[in-house]
């Protein structure tokens, strides 16, 4: 079955299954899907990654009651982290827990136990006119809920380990909600991994609310098999004085489309958005970012880097909107790419729309090869050419990895990247 069948099933689900505040969004999303086409190459936002063909493919729906307990994965390297697992989009925690300052569990349970918070934010940050987002809102049943109470400064990271584990071509979705209370401090590490070699499709949605003066580090990793397809649409909203460091690290996956939207809703927000893509084979990675400077005196800083080998394709579309009221905005964007092979491709598109006149904004994109002078310099110290190349590439990646606060995880990712690059 394809997404239309899934849509039909969802459209016929009884409204009594959901709280009424969810139903109003579901109905809007269902209408949106009915009245629009799935993105094809004619749509600017999805020009290089037309999703219509992919979502039209044949998939098996997930049976939410059929899952194996996940094995300890390499990604659970951080001993002191609090861990939540989802299997094929289903959160396997059957209760809402409170640990290390985090409240976490399945969104479906939270919708009952924390109805007030869920009602206030769930579906309200997402852009319902975006078709993958609409499909998720209409048809996804659950996901992960995480909140940190106001003033709580957590010290251990919370890891969300999303595993795709199936022998068949499943279509999985999850809808996550993160709410960080006023003046709280937290680190989230989301790992999207697969123990499946099937042609799976994942369509995830996350909404992240960052209340005034909260400080949040969010690291998202994609490292699935070469046949997997993954669409991730992530919407965040920052309130006054908050700091949000968001890193998207894409290493594996046949196709990864990562939408990252950050809405700066109140004054003095600070956003750092980082991305790293390491891709080879025929991997196709597409990062769409959108930073919305809606009010004055906010700062955003965006840096995306990629290392591409073989016939990998990478797309970077970085949109920054500075609205008329957003005076004294500071917004920097940079996209830097290294192509190791003539078959690899990068499409890079900065998109700055500035409607305020007193702002500091810059953008830049570079595409290049590894620096031959640096390679010879290292060779002249006895370092072999291949080691020199991998040192250079790790150095290039390090600029992003260094932004990750957790030392153990950073070291783990670096060794993972070194391993990926050594195969090339």
């Amino acid at each position: 079955m394809n997404y239309k069948n899934i849509y039909n099933i969802a459209a016929n689900l009884s409204e009594s299954l959901f709280p009424c505040y969810i139903n109003s969004f579901r109905n809007r999303a269902l209408d949106e899907i009915k009245n629009s086409e799935f993105p094809n190459i004619k749509q600017e936002k999805y020009k290089y990654t037309p999703l219509a063909d992919i979502f039209d493919g044949e998939y098996v729906p997930v049976n939410p009651f059929d899952w194996k307990k996940p094995a300890e994965s390499n990604f659970s390297v951080i001993d002191d982290a609090i861990k939540i697992y989802t299997v094929n989009g289903v959160c396997i925690n059957n209760e809402i827990r409170s640990e290390g300052g985090f409240v976490y569990g399945s969104l479906l349970l939270a919708a009952r136990e924390y109805e007030e918070i869920v009602e206030k934010y769930c579906n309200r940050l997402a852009d319902i006119t975006d078709l993958p987002t609409a499909l998720n809102i209409a048809t996804a049943l659950s996901g992960v809920y995480v909140s940190v109470d106001p003033g709580v400064k957590t010290t251990r990271p919370l890891m969300i380990i999303n595993i795709i584990d199936s022998d068949s071509n499943i279509f999985s979705q999850q809808h996550n909600l993160f709410v960080f209370g006023e003046n709280s401090v937290a680190e989230i590490i989301e790992c999207n991994i697969g123990v499946s070699d099937a042609s799976t499709l994942t369509n995830n949605l996350s909404e992240t609310v960052i209340k005034p003066d909260a400080q949040v580090n969010f690291v998202r990793i994609h490292d699935k098999g070469l046949l997997s397809r993954h669409v991730s649409s992530d919407y965040s909203r920052q309130y006054s004085g908050s700091v949000f460091n968001c890193s998207n690290i894409i290493l594996g996956g046949g196709l990864v489309r990562q939408n990252t939207e950050i809405h700066l809703a109140e004054k003095h927000c600070y956003s750092n958005l980082y991305g790293l893509v390491v891709a080879g084979n025929k991997q196709h990675v597409d990062n769409y970012t959108f930073i919305d400077h809606a009010v004055l005196e906010c700062q955003s800083n965006e840096l995306y880097k990629s290392i591409l080998d073989d016939k990998a394709v990478n797309v970077f579309n970085g949109r920054i909107l500075v609205r008329p009221d957003a005076q004294k905005t500071v917004a920097y964007q940079s996209n830097r790419n290294v192509l190791l092979n003539t078959g690899a491709k990068i499409y890079t598109k900065p998109q700055l729309e500035i409607y305020a006149d007193n702002v500091k904004c810059s953008h830049g994109a570079t595409v290049g090869q590894l620096n031959e002078d640096a390679i010879f310099y290292m060779q002249s110290r006895g370092i072999s050419k291949s080691t020199a190349q991998s040192l250079l590439m790790s150095g290039f990646a390090n600029e992003i990895l260094n932004k990750i606060k957790n030392f153990a995880f950073r070291e783990f990712l670096l060794s993972r990247i070194e391993k990926i690059l050594a195969h090339g």
Partner: protein, 249 residues
């Protein structure tokens, strides 16, 4: 130690070296001087193995081995060191990782186990002190944001770590003020022994006040046109290079 015979080399089809003959023995210091564009740096690069130069004729023998058949890294591991005129910045790669990789490749070449972390740190510390290298620079990315003097000092620091048999210092004095030049030269002099050799490539006599050569060679239009003792450097300083124009080459 090294014997260069009738060496010819091209860059982009243009002949830069046109028959170099040079022999350097252990314990010796040779200075190669000459006007800009005479081929001094090309000679240094060809010995180190830079691949944008094409050797069209001649031989380089290093301790009985045919150097021209070896990769740049093998040359380095066999004991050749080039101090760059323009040391390269390598963003994201720390000096520590860089030197650890270099030391371990050298040890692998010699059939030794990788260096132990404690031993390595001790070595870095000792050599930094020996060459007056600011230890804060060691944790930074290679040459990134280093001043001109710091970059050159870093070259000598690397030389101290790798302990080459033959070091070629390519215009090490360029861009250095007198104080920096003194520090760099002191470092080089401390590393000098009867087992190793030095080739100093320089435009000016200045460096030779601090590092005393046994032989001075004048390179002009890709050939060594004159060789003598250190008094030749002083003569060049007085006369300049204009007299070379009258030579028939």
């Amino acid at each position: 130690m090294i014997k260069i015979t009738d060496l010819h080399a091209n860059v982009e089809g243009k002949e830069i070296l046109r028959g170099i003959n040079l022999e350097v023995h252990a314990g010796e210091v040779h200075a190669i001087m000459g006007p800009n564009g005479s081929g001094k740096s090309t000679l240094a690069s060809v010995i180190a193995g830079r691949d944008n130069f094409e050797v069209t004729q001649g031989e380089i023998e290093f301790e009985g081995k045919n150097l021209l058949e070896m990769s740049p890294e093998d040359r380095a591991n066999a004991g050749i060191f080039l101090s760059f005129q323009y040391p390269v910045e390598i963003p994201g790669v720390s000096m520590t990782n860089f030197m650890k990789a270099a030391i371990n490749e050298q040890r692998k070449y010699k059939g030794l186990e990788p260096v132990k972390p404690a031993e390595f740190l001790k070595m870095m510390k000792e050599k930094a002190a020996l060459t007056s290298m600011d230890s804060a620079l060691i944790s930074r990315p290679v040459n990134e944001g280093f001043s001109g003097g710091e970059k050159k000092r870093n070259e000598i620091f690397q030389m101290a770590i790798l302990e080459p048999k033959l070091a070629i210092l390519d215009e090490t004095d360029s861009g250095l003020d007198i104080d920096a030049l003194k520090i760099v030269s002191e470092g080089v002099n401390k590393l000098k022994s009867s087992d190793n050799a030095l080739i100093l490539v320089t435009h000016y006599q200045r460096l030779l006040d601090y590092i005393k050569p046994d032989f001075v060679h004048v390179l002009y239009k890709g050939k060594i046109v004159k060789s003598a003792g250190k008094e030749l450097a002083l003569e060049l300083e007085k006369k300049g290079y204009d007299w070379l124009k009258d030579l028939e080459i």
